[in-house]
Symmetry: C2
Subunit: 363 residues, 2 copies
């Protein structure tokens, strides 16, 4: 079996494996269930890098005591519409949902709620949190800072994470618009894939360790960096840098977490940051009750109209026209629910290692 | 005098001219003063496209009765932390500051305030609003939708505006980080400049009327469109499209304003949208009291550290290293306060036309 070979698994089975692994490490029953669900949602929605592929990293962090399986989350500062939460170094998959629910509760009471989180760890896909908001007729925002991998515009080294931002808008007859985007030009996972497949990467994705643009994925991996969205100054790369910076500051600085190059690593593979400037990793969750602004029925009708209007955009040559944000994930979900989740053999090997580490049977 | 020739003016004189022009059209005294100040800030900060260069467009809209000089802004829906404002078709430069102050007031009371605005018009630079927030030790957010000029990824026509987003973070000893960015790869103003100067535009900025990439600025201007940040699918252009879409929906749909291709024009030069789906143009203002999340002194110290850390990033070859968002505007401001605001002759001619239209002496 080569590294790029693929095996297909039923998503329920993967979810069950993750749940039992989290429980093995002492994570509570309900918490293990939700953490496994978040990974499973990533796998179903086709965001392979954030699904069960991360279980090995989480397991090693739990196994080495670098993540607290039973955190006591607490609110360290609070107003009617805001809070700052300390996640007690818990799994982001446990701390994130708790803090997100607090933001949603605050919005129930004063129209909008914003919760900054420190002392957390990698929280999975940002999209999970904003889909939770939709279920309560709210608009949810979720963002997090992450381990450094992206250079600022005109920089030659890793200073910012991939820092994703998610937000979702419900339709009435149409499925929701779900935006869940990282801030660099491309995901690091695509560079890893190019290495596995012996391919070049496109111009505009990365620089090498001297700061020169490169199309060799190994040169990026070996001390280079990914580029911000926009890639070059001429094409607006400073805007991608601004986007990464604002997510870093709102997630990291506002909460009292670490930020920028000091954001903690999410796997034991990476080198620890050179100094600590705060507590753990940070997130920001926002919630806005739709009916605090407009009649929800009217809002959803307009979103339907928005979706249908944008679907009717005349298509660029050689394309079927614009997608609606969330289309690719929805398509993956219906396919994978029916026919399973494909995992590359490297991930399967990692899961077998998790099985050996924990005694939870995998296959 | 050719179109590209430049004349330098004292910023106070330009500001005074704008103020008197707004007053001529019946805009109130205090409102005219703030509207002129917003244009003047754009000129000082080097955002030439959004300064007094827009006065001609505002004047023609006021002169033809398409903007209401004496709007009665009203809150149409409200919770402790949110509001929806109808701007009564006033100048965005009048409605925007009023709604932004409401967001800041709400944050004073419940920690955070979010105000959606409909029935407004072009509100000037987004950066103005977030600098107002800084003065009250709050983090301000400002966004607006604007006249269509940008194609969605894989689209061949104009569907979204340049939809800017601004946010600012105060330092203690360092000047603030001020992010004020539009969502396309490049500004339309740069295409206009290339036409004036007879130059090509870089790849990745624009498509022609058939949706093909073009480097001919005339082909973009003649029914083509600008591209979202990221430019191509491979380089993340779908993320730039998501960014433009989320600003459009939060500004336009959430407030009950027009959205996407139906967003009103800001000058009588452009064709009216094909249908109306809401009331005027929309904005969203957000405000977060820093002390609702963290000790403001600690926050500002960390921002100082953030700024100094990022300034020390090893520079990409051939550059002086990363800028801090807000650097270019601050540099322009100190230069232009000292030596004046350069206006191209096309703008000077427009201002003479405004002078003729209003009887307010220009020179």
């Amino acid at each position: 079996m080569t590294a790029a070979e693929v095996v297909v698994f039923e998503h329920e089975r993967l979810c069950e494996f993750s749940r039992r692994v989290f429980q093995h490490f002492g994570v509570g029953t309900a918490e293990s269930e939700e953490a496994a669900l978040i990974l499973s949602q990533a796998d179903l929605r086709g965001i392979d890098s954030h699904g069960i592929a991360r279980l090995h990293a989480y397991s090693r962090m739990l196994n080495s005591g670098r993540i607290n399986p039973t955190p006591e989350m607490r609110v360290v500062r609070e107003t009617p519409g805001t809070a700052t939460v300390d996640g007690d170094n818990g799994l982001g998959l446990v701390v994130g949902p708790w803090a997100n629910r607090l933001a949603l509760d605050k919005a129930e009471s004063v129209g909008t709620g914003w919760v900054a989180v420190r002392g957390s760890n990698h929280f999975g896909i940002a999209g999970y949190y904003v889909l939770e908001a939709l279920a309560r007729d709210q608009l949810g925002w979720a963002m997090t800072n992450t381990t450094k991998i992206v250079a600022p515009m005109w920089g030659a080294e890793r200073m910012l994470g991939t820092n994703p931002l998610a937000i979702a808008f419900p339709g009435l007859e149409e499925p929701p618009i779900v935006i869940d985007m990282a801030s660099p030009a491309a995901a690091f996972g695509k560079v890893e894939m190019a290495i596995r497949e012996g391919k070049k990467i496109p111009e505009g994705w990365a620089i090498d360790s001297s700061g020169q643009p490169t199309i060799e994925p190994e040169e990026m991996a070996d001390g280079g960096a990914m580029l911000p969205l926009g890639s070059t100054r001429e094409r607006g790369g400073h805007k991608g840098y601004c986007l990464g910076a604002l997510i870093d500051i709102l997630s990291g600085v506002l909460s009292g977490a670490n930020w920028g190059p000091f954001t903690p690593v999410f796997t034991t593979d990476f080198e620890e940051p050179p100094r600590s400037v705060g507590v753990g990793l940070g997130h920001l969750f926002g919630a806005m009750r739709i009916d605090a602004f407009i009649e929800p029925l009217e809002f959803k009708r307009q979103i339907d109209d928005w979706i249908r209007t944008f679907r009717k955009t005349s298509p660029a040559p050689g394309t079927d026209g614009p997608l609606i944000p969330g289309d690719p994930e929805r398509e993956a979900e219906s396919q994978r629910k029916a026919s399973g989740v494909p995992l590359v053999s490297a991930v399967v090997s990692d899961l077998r290692a998790v099985s050996v580490m924990t005694g939870v049977p995998f296959d």
